[in-house]
C-alpha cells in the first residue's frame, strides 16, 4: 500500500501480472497516432534515409581516397538508426503514471490488487517494448539496405554491441523517466524534468559518436557496463520511491522554502537545545553513525585512487633527471616555499579556501550523480599524492618516506576530513535512490543535506582548519628538514 517496495524479488507471477498492464498499454499506444507515426517513420523511413546517406557518403569520400571515413560512418549510422526510435520511449514513460493521474484513470488501477512492483514493471515494459521493437526493426532495415547497396555485413561483435547498447540505453531512459513520472503532479512538470534524461543521453551519444569514428569499439563494453549499473540504480530508485499515497495524493508541485528551512533547522538543531556540547553529543554523533557504509566506500575509493595514481607513475614517468634536480638543488627551499605562501597565515587561508571549495564542488557534483562524481573529485588529490610517491620510488627514494614527509603531517587531519565529506556526499547523493523509510523523497534529501552540513561544520571544517595550519607550517618544515635544506 503506502509502504515502499522493499521486497524487490520479482517472481513469475509478478511478470505475468505486469504483462496484463503492458498488453493494454501497448494496445493503447498503437491507437495513438502521435506515438505510432514517429515510430513508423523512425523504423521504416529513417533507416532507408541513413542507407542512402551511407551510400552517398561512401561514394563521395572514395573519390578522394578517404575510404576510412565511409568505413567509420556506416557503423556510426547503425548506432543512430537504433537510437532514434528508442527516444520515443521517453515520451511514453514520462506520462506513464502522471498522465493517468491527470486523466483520472489512475485510482481504479491503484485500487486493484496489483502489487506495486507488478504495476511498476507493467508500465516500464509498456514504455520500453514498442520503441525497442521499432529500433530492432530499424536496424534490420538498415542492415538489409546496406547489404543490398554496399554488400556490407556488420561484424558480429559490433552488431551485438549496438543491439545491447540500444537496449540498455532504452531501459535507462525509461527507468529514469518512470521515476520522474511517479514523482511529479503534471505531465507538464514531467516534460520539463525530462531534460535530466535527455541532456545526459545526448552527451552520451556524442561521446559514443566519437568512439564510433575512432573505431574504439571495445570502449562500448565499458559504456554498456556503466549503463547497466545505472539502470540497476534507477530501477531500485523507482521501486523504492513508488508510493500509491503520494502518487494519488499530491496535487501540487510546490517549493515551500519556508517549510524547507523550518525542516532543515529542526533537523540541524535536533536535541541540542541551544548547547553546542549537546549538539556534538547528540546531533553530530547521530550523523556520524549514519556514515558507516559510505565512509567504508570512501576509504575503498581513496585506496583505489592511491593504487591508480601509483600505477600511473610507472606508465607516465616524469624525467628522472628533472626529479633529481628538484630534490638536489633545493637550497633556499624554505625561502622559496615562503614565496608560495607557506609559513604564512595568508597561506593557511588559501589552503583552507581551496579545500572548502573542493568540498563544496564535490557535494554539488555528488547531488546529481548519486555521489559518484564527488568520490572521483575527492579521490584525485590522493591519486596525485600516490603518483608523486611513485615518481619518488622511480627516482630511488623510499615512497613511504616521501608520503610521511610530504603528506602525513597534514594528511593525518585532511584525509579523515576527505573521507567524512565524501561519505556525507555519497549519503546525500544516495538519498534520492532510497529515502529513509516513511519519508518522502524531498524529506529524505533534506535530512541527508542536514547531515552533510552537520558533518562539514561540526567535524570536517575544524579538521580542514587544522590541516591547513599543518600543511602551511608543519609539512614544509618537515620537508625542508627531510631534504636537509
Amino acid at each position: 500500500m503506502t509502504k515502499r517496495m522493499t521486497n524487490t524479488f520479482i517472481t513469475r507471477n509478478d511478470l505475468q501480472r505486469a504483462w496484463v498492464i503492458t498488453k493494454r498499454e501497448i494496445r493503447d499506444s498503437f491507437r495513438d497516432w502521435r506515438i505510432m507515426m514517429p515510430i513508423l517513420f523512425l523504423t521504416l523511413f529513417f533507416p532507408a534515409l541513413m542507407n542512402f546517406t551511407a551510400k552517398a557518403a561512401v561514394d563521395f569520400v572514395s573519390q578522394y581516397g578517404a575510404e576510412i571515413i565511409g568505413e567509420r560512418l556506416i557503423p556510426f549510422l547503425l548506432m543512430i538508426v537504433g537510437f532514434f526510435p528508442i527516444t520515443v520511449s521517453i515520451v511514453i514513460a514520462l506520462e506513464s503514471f502522471v498522465g493517468e493521474k491527470e486523466r483520472h484513470t489512475l485510482e481504479p488501477l491503484l485500487s486493484s490488487p496489483l502489487s506495486n512492483i507488478q504495476l511498476y514493471l507493467g508500465k516500464v515494459f509498456a514504455s520500453t517494448l514498442p520503441p525497442l521493437a521499432a529500433a530492432y526493426m530499424g536496424i534490420i532495415v538498415y542492415l538489409v539496405g546496406l547489404y543490398i547497396n554496399l554488400h556490407w555485413v556488420a561484424p558480429i561483435q559490433l552488431l551485438i554491441q549496438i543491439v545491447v547498447l540500444t537496449t540498455v540505453q532504452a531501459t535507462v531512459m525509461v527507468s529514469a523517466a518512470v521515476v520522474i513520472s511517479t514523482q511529479v503532479t503534471s505531465v507538464r512538470a514531467s516534460n520539463l524534468l525530462s531534460s535530466f534524461v535527455i541532456i545526459p543521453m545526448a552527451l552520451l551519444i556524442q561521446g559514443e559518436s566519437v568512439i564510433m569514428f575512432w573505431a574504439r569499439y571495445d570502449v562500448l563494453w565499458a559504456i554498456i557496463f556503466g549503463l547497466v549499473l545505472l539502470n540497476i540504480v534507477l530501477v531500485r530508485m523507482g521501486v523504492q520511491l513508488f508510493n500509491r499515497e503520494e502518487l494519488l495524493g499530491k496535487d501540487l508541485d510546490e517549493i515551500n522554502v519556508g517549510a524547507m528551512l523550518k525542516f532543515f533547522r529542526k533537523e540541524f538543531v535536533g536535541e541540542s537545545r541551544g548547547s553546542i556540547i549537546r549538539w556534538y553529543r547528540y546531533e553530530v554523533t547521530k550523523s556520524l553513525k549514519r556514515l558507516g557504509i559510505p565512509a567504508l566506500m570512501m576509504i575503498i575509493v581513496l585506496i583505489a585512487g592511491g593504487i591508480i595514481g601509483f600505477y600511473h607513475a610507472a606508465l607516465y614517468p616524469l624525467p628522472l633527471a628533472l626529479l633529481q634536480d628538484v630534490i638536489n638543488s633545493s637550497s633556499g627551499l624554505r625561502d622559496r616555499l615562503s614565496d608560495f605562501g607557506f609559513f604564512t597565515t595568508q597561506g593557511v587561508g588559501l589552503v583552507l579556501y581551496q579545500n572548502v571549495r573542493a568540498s563544496l564542488i564535490a557535494a554539488a557534483l555528488g547531488i546529481f550523480t548519486f555521489g559518484v562524481l564527488s568520490s572521483v573529485v575527492l579521490m584525485l588529490p590522493i591519486s596525485l599524492a600516490a603518483y608523486f610517491a611513485g615518481q619518488a620510488a622511480a627516482a630511488g627514494y623510499n615512497p613511504l618516506l616521501f608520503l610521511a614527509a610530504f603528506i602525513l603531517p597534514h594528511g593525518i587531519l585532511e584525509i579523515p576530513a576527505i573521507i567524512l565529506i565524501g561519505a556525507a556526499t555519497i549519503n546525500l547523493g544516495a538519498s534520492i535512490i532510497a529515502p529513509p523509510k516513511g519519508k518522502t523523497l524531498g524529506d529524505g534529501w533534506l535530512i541527508a543535506l542536514t547531515n552533510w552540513v552537520k558533518i562539514f561544520l561540526g567535524v570536517a571544517f575544524p579538521l580542514l582548519i587544522g590541516a591547513a595550519f599543518l600543511e602551511v607550517f608543519l609539512t614544509p618544515t618537515i620537508v625542508v628538514w627531510a631534504l636537509g635544506k
Binding site: M1, T2, K3, R17, V20, I21, R24, R27, D28, R31, D32, H104, T105, L106, E107, P108, L109, L110, S111, S112, P113, L114, S115, R244, E245, L248, G249
Partner: protein, 308 residues
C-alpha cells in the same frame, strides 16, 4: 465486513479524517452523507488501502487495511469519484482488462461482462470506444467494473451521478440486489432520497468527523424528535383533540387538524380512529408527519456548528 475504529488521516497539518468509527456487516448499506471536502473520499481511499491512516484501524472483509493491502484490494469493488475509463478502449475491452487484473478467469469474465452489460443496457455499446459514450453510460460502465470480480465489499462514490432517472433506478435496483447477496456496501452520496431508500445506516460526515450515525429512523428520532401523526378532518371541530388526549399526546392543533405522538401507534391509531368515528368526526386523512433526511442532515449540521 467493514469495521473502522477511530480511523484518522492527517495531511501535514490538515485533518482530513478524524476518529471515524463504524461497522458495516454483510448485507448492509452504509451511506456517507456530507459536503465536498468532508472526508468521504479520503475515508474510502483508506478502506481501499491506497492511503495509510495516520492512526486508527480498519478491516475490510476480514483483512487489515494496513498490513494486508493486496487482500483488501482484491476483496473490494470501488466506484471512484472520477470514473477512470480509458477512452480509446471499447467497453468490453476495458472490462476484460480489469477482470484480468482482478484475477477473474477468462471464461467467467466473458460471461459476466455480457450479463452485466445487458443488465445495464450497454450490450449494444460494448464494442464501441468509451470515448463515444454518454456520461451516464460511462458511469454505468465504471459501476460494472466495480462489480465484475464479485467482491464481498463495495465502495461506491456517487453511483447515480450524471444518470437519467431510468438508469439511476437500474443502478439503485442493482445496489439493492447486491445487498441481498450479502455484500457490505458503503455509498457516498449527496442524493438524500437515494440514501434513505438504500441505506440501512447513515453516517453524516462533516469536516472529517462523523457527526451523526445510525439507521434513518433512529437518526430522525434522535435529531427531529419522536414520530408524529396528523389527522385532518373534513370540517372544523374545535376541541376534538381533547377527546383523545388520554390516548395520545396532542402536540399541535388547528381548526380541522391536530398532530399527536403516541407510545405505540399500532395500538393507539385504531382506537383513535374508532373514537373519532363514534363521535361522528369526519376523518379525511391520518398520515405520518414527514421527517425528511434533509431535515435530519440540516439539524445535525446545525447542532454540530453550535457545539464547535
Amino acid at each position: 465486513m467493514i469495521e473502522s475504529h477511530n480511523l484518522t488521516k492527517y495531511f501535514d497539518d490538515f485533518h482530513a479524517v478524524e476518529s471515524v468509527s463504524f461497522n458495516v456487516p454483510a448485507g448492509n448499506v452504509l451511506a456517507l452523507l456530507g459536503p465536498n471536502g468532508a472526508g468521504k473520499t479520503t475515508t474510502v481511499r483508506m478502506l481501499t488501502s491506497i492511503l495509510k491512516p495516520t492512526s486508527g484501524t480498519a478491516s475490510v472483509a476480514g483483512y487489515d487495511i494496513v498490513t494486508q493491502p493486496d487482500q483488501v484490494r482484491a476483496s473490494v469493488g470501488v466506484l471512484t469519484e472520477h470514473h477512470g475509463l480509458y477512452l480509446r478502449t471499447s467497453g468490453e475491452e476495458y472490462l476484460d482488462f480489469f477482470g484480468d487484473l482482478y484475477g477473474v478467469p477468462k471464461d467467467v469474465r466473458r460471461k459476466r461482462i455480457k450479463n452485466l452489460l445487458e443488465r445495464f443496457g450497454l450490450d449494444e455499446a460494448g464494442d464501441r470506444r468509451i470515448g463515444g459514450y454518454s456520461k451516464g453510460m460511462r458511469q454505468k460502465l465504471a459501476l460494472i467494473r466495480s462489480m465484475l470480480h464479485d467482491p464481498p465489499v463495495l465502495l461506491l462514490d456517487e453511483p447515480t451521478s450524471a444518470m437519467d432517472p431510468q438508469s439511476a433506478k437500474q443502478v439503485r435496483d442493482a445496489i439493492a440486489d447486491l445487498r441481498q447477496d450479502n455484500r457490505a456496501i458503503i455509498l457516498c452520496t449527496h442524493n438524500l432520497a437515494e440514501a434513505e431508500e438504500l441505506a440501512d445506516s447513515i453516517a453524516i460526515v462533516r469536516k472529517g468527523r462523523i457527526i451523526a450515525l445510525g439507521n434513518p429512523d433512529a437518526l430522525k428520532d434522535q435529531l427531529l424528535g419522536a414520530k408524529e401523526m396528523e389527522v385532518r378532518l373534513a370540517a372544523s371541530h374545535n376541541g376534538v383533540g381533547d377527546t383523545v388526549s388520554d390516548l395520545v399526546t396532542v402536540v399541535a392543533r388547528g381548526d380541522s387538524w391536530f398532530r399527536y405522538r403516541a407510545e405505540n401507534f399500532d395500538r393507539a391509531n385504531p382506537i383513535l380512529i374508532k373514537r373519532l368515528s363514534d363521535q361522528n368526526v369526519p376523518i379525511v386523512s391520518l398520515t405520518e408527519v414527514p421527517r425528511s433526511l434533509e431535515a435530519v442532515y440540516l439539524r445535525a449540521v446545525e447542532e454540530d456548528e453550535g457545539t464547535t
